[in-house]
């Protein structure tokens, strides 16, 4: 696509014509519109097609639970480290689960080195809200001794390749890493927490939620799983989070208005997507079982 030949750049006899790549750079919105009119997206997908998603569990051995998720080119690695800390005075029976997203400059030329960008902080906060409001994990199971000691799970998500729809990738990475966590057995004795060498305890997840994101183009075309280019051109985005029973857990809607019909299609597509992700993670679990 990137070959620009001299005779194609300017043809003086007729109207000015451009090579597709030039057109994309000058008029990205119009470029996308031309594709949408043909009912296809610039990367060849149909509107309802998710990119290929893969999950790789236990990829970081220094972490207590880890997962690498790829959606198309978008790649997110989640590593969970467990530490012992004193519980919050107001919730003496509860541990902590702290998600943190890092959009480092490695993942896209858009991100600059320095303190976490607004986008990264919004992603972290959205994940935190999702975990809390949907009660993904019972924080009381992380308690070691009431008021004295509890587990703190630091879930660090590093985006290594940013090609749109990072939130979906983060949710899948976080959920699958939580499933992958193995904690040692810990006992509280006279102010000291003793933990066994072996890590055997699996976290009990109450609810497993996955998200599906959509981009809306020109207020009528719903593009599933938008990539970086589509995300940057379209102003409207919808993210729907559902749990295993198909119940809604969260909806984020940004940009201008959309009809309730469109929202309904989003929800039903999110439910279909849930089943797909479940089977992808099942495959990943089988893969590590074989190695073990």
């Amino acid at each position: 696509m990137g070959n620009v030949t001299n005779e194609n750049i300017i043809n003086l006899n007729t109207a000015i014509t451009f090579e597709a790549e030039t057109f994309r750079r000058i008029q990205p919105e119009e470029y996308l519109r031309r594709y949408i009119q043909q009912h296809v997206r610039p990367d060849g997908r149909s509107f309802n097609h998710f990119r290929k998603t893969t999950v790789n569990l236990s990829c970081i051995t220094t972490a207590d639970g880890s997962s690498m998720v790829r959606i198309g080119n978008t790649t997110v690695i989640c590593g969970i480290k467990a530490e012992v800390s004193e519980p919050n005075v107001n919730f003496p029976k509860e541990g902590y689960l702290v998600p943190n997203v890092d959009l480092s400059p490695i993942c896209s030329p858009r991100f600059k080195p320095g303190p976490p960008s607004e986008q990264a902080q919004v992603l972290s906060e959205n994940l935190n809200k999702l975990l809390k409001n949907s009660k993904v994990i019972d924080l009381e199971t992380l308690c070691i001794e009431e008021g004295k000691a509890a587990w703190v799970l630091f879930a660090d998500l590093v985006c290594v390749n940013y090609d749109g729809n990072v939130f979906d990738a983060c949710v899948i990475a976080l959920m699958s890493a939580l499933m992958n966590v193995r904690l040692p057995e810990a006992v509280y004795e006279d102010g000291i927490v003793k933990a066994t060498e072996e890590k055997t305890i699996i976290l009990g997840l109450i609810r497993i939620t996955y998200s599906a994101s959509f981009a809306m183009f020109d207020g009528q075309h719903l593009l599933v799983d938008p990539n970086e280019m589509e995300e940057s051109i379209t102003k409207d985005g919808i993210t729907v989070v559902v749990d295993e029973t198909g119940k809604l857990c969260n909806i984020w809607k940004t940009g201008s208005s959309c009809s309730s019909e469109q929202l309904k299609t989003c929800i039903s597509k999110a439910r279909d997507r849930y089943a797909d992700i479940t089977s992808i993670i099942e495959i990943a679990k089988q893969a590590i079982k074989k190695i073990e």
Binding site: I60, T61, T62, N73, D102, I106, C107
Partner: protein, 244 residues
């Protein structure tokens, strides 16, 4: 508890089962990221590193512009889950800054920066899992990523560490070994055997120095063959794809 850690077992094997002159298992792959101009992923034993190169591109601030050559910017970040102990290491951590500066100084004379005056080359390194040998893996990953980005370099830069356990020189130390023994990191230009970087931060007897150094240089050569193979295979793949 024994007062001293046994780093070499009775059969003369090290804690991870290697012999004295054996490198850790090395996996590398260039062109792993779609957004970067050049990228590479390297595993050396349990140390895993991802490198991305952006550029040559416009410098971010005017102060960084050099009128006669490109400015090289190296940033290293350690993933919070990369170490045994979770520590939020900021990018301004002095130890990391020092490594970044060592990498930068290694590449400055090797990359032909004079071809890209007034521009900037960014090298971002992300350590995903840490088990010793940060400097060497950063240099090796950066070499692959720079080649992948198509930025002209005078030669490969290959780095390797070596140390001395019980008067015996050993190659490619892991984290357990490097915290207990003197370590020497060497970066070499394999074509003319010139050393571009040499780091040693603890005491080592001068009689042993030559041996350890030679061992590290040998390790660099081995790493060079692995990197070179990866680059050639990657180019072959590229040719196959473009010919279709």
């Amino acid at each position: 508890m024994s007062s001293r850690l046994e780093l070499i077992g009775p059969q003369g094997l090290r804690t991870d089962g290697r012999r004295f002159n054996e490198l850790r298992n090395m996996n590398c792959k260039p062109s792993v990221l779609s957004q970067a101009d050049g990228s590479a992923y390297i595993e050396q034993g349990n140390t895993k590193c991802l490198a991305a190169v952006y550029g040559p591109r416009e410098a971010r601030t005017k102060a960084q512009v050099l009128h006669n050559r490109a400015n090289i910017n190296v940033e290293i970040s350690l993933a919070p889950f990369s170490m045994e102990e979770r520590k939020k290491r900021s990018k301004s951590d002095k130890r990391i800054l020092e490594i970044a500066s060592a990498v930068k100084q290694t590449f400055e004379p090797i990359i032909m920066t004079e071809l890209y005056a007034r521009s900037q080359i960014d090298i971002y390194l992300q350590i995903l899992q840490f088990d010793g040998g940060t400097v060497q893996i950063c240099i090796n990953a950066a070499t692959l990523a720079i080649i992948d980005a198509g930025i002209p370099m005078k030669d490969y830069v290959c780095a390797c560490s070596a140390g001395c356990i019980d008067d015996e020189p050993v190659l490619d130390l892991n984290h357990l070994e490097e915290s207990n023994t003197p370590e020497l990191t060497v970066a070499l230009l394999p074509k003319n055997d010139k050393i571009t970087l040499l780091q040693m931060e603890s005491r080592l007897h001068i009689d042993k120095f030559q041996q350890v150094m030679e061992m590290a240089a040998k390790g660099c050569k081995e790493i060079h063959t692995v990197l070179d193979k990866a680059v050639r295979e990657n180019i072959k793949d590229l040719l196959k794809k473009s010919s279709i």
